[in-house]
Subunit: 149 residues, 2 copies
């Protein structure tokens, strides 16, 4: 009998506990962001002329979910929606100064947490690890191969 834990069991548990750690550290530092909000800010910050549909495609989520998550960030004045100049159906999401500051702070904490989580992992192991993660992601058949974020 194969007693090795299923891959997704292992990854899921690690992900869950890591998320708890991140959120606890956010709270300690008075950052009131969910992990999803943080990731959304990260993505909006990294991309120019980003639309909600782009986000939905990238994360394989329903666009209505992205709509609502974005609304929260807008209510917080972290993000604004601006009509695209060329295509009036589209709206570009743009970080505000306030949003950028909050994001930068959260990013610093997040990097710190990552470092802690990777304590005892060598640079070489990390490279291999990220390499395997990438392969897994590609093997899902979902992930956009051309993607750079």
């Amino acid at each position: 009998m194969n007693t090795r834990k299923p891959l997704l069991y292992l990854m899921g548990q690690t992900m869950h506990l890591s998320k708890l750690r991140l959120l606890a550290t956010f709270k300690e530092n008075d950052i009131e962001l969910s992990m999803e909000q943080f990731i959304l800010l990260h993505f909006i910050n990294a991309k120019e002329d980003l639309t909600q549909q782009d986000i939905a495609n990238h994360f394989y989520r329903d666009k209505s979910l992205i709509m609502r998550q974005t609304n929260i960030l807008i209510d917080l004045r972290y993000v604004v929606r601006m009509q695209d100049r060329e295509d009036k159906r589209k709206k570009n999401l743009i970080l505000t100064k306030k949003g950028f500051e909050v994001f930068e702070h959260a990013k610093k904490i997040s990097d710190q947490v990552s470092q802690e989580l990777l304590h005892g992992v060598t640079e070489e192991e990390l490279i291999h690890f990220e390499n395997v993660i990438q392969k897994i992601q590609q093997n899902t058949g979902f992930s956009d191969l051309a993607e750079n974020c």
Copy 2:
């Protein structure tokens, strides 16, 4: 500026896409289990004299959530609750024959999916990968070091 993706961003996305792949494959094979239900079955199958509180502790979830997830498995006749002989507060969760059969089927599919996801990953890389995952899990400070499942 550090352009590397945050660790949890990468892991989260990989986890999400992998979950989509697993659920799609479950559906193709007429398995009507959520990933959480599958993992719960896995855990109940692996452990003797398991209580809901044990599960809640292990997965760092509220016991009321475990209660409700277990109720679903009981409604499906996959699991039964049996009063512990020694401690009448406790109830042990036990797989039924039906539950075991469904689990075994799902496990087979899950192993298959894992294999597909690990396509192109060498045995050595996998060992390193699981090693890093374990370290991360331990570094969260949550994970029970004595645990074997």
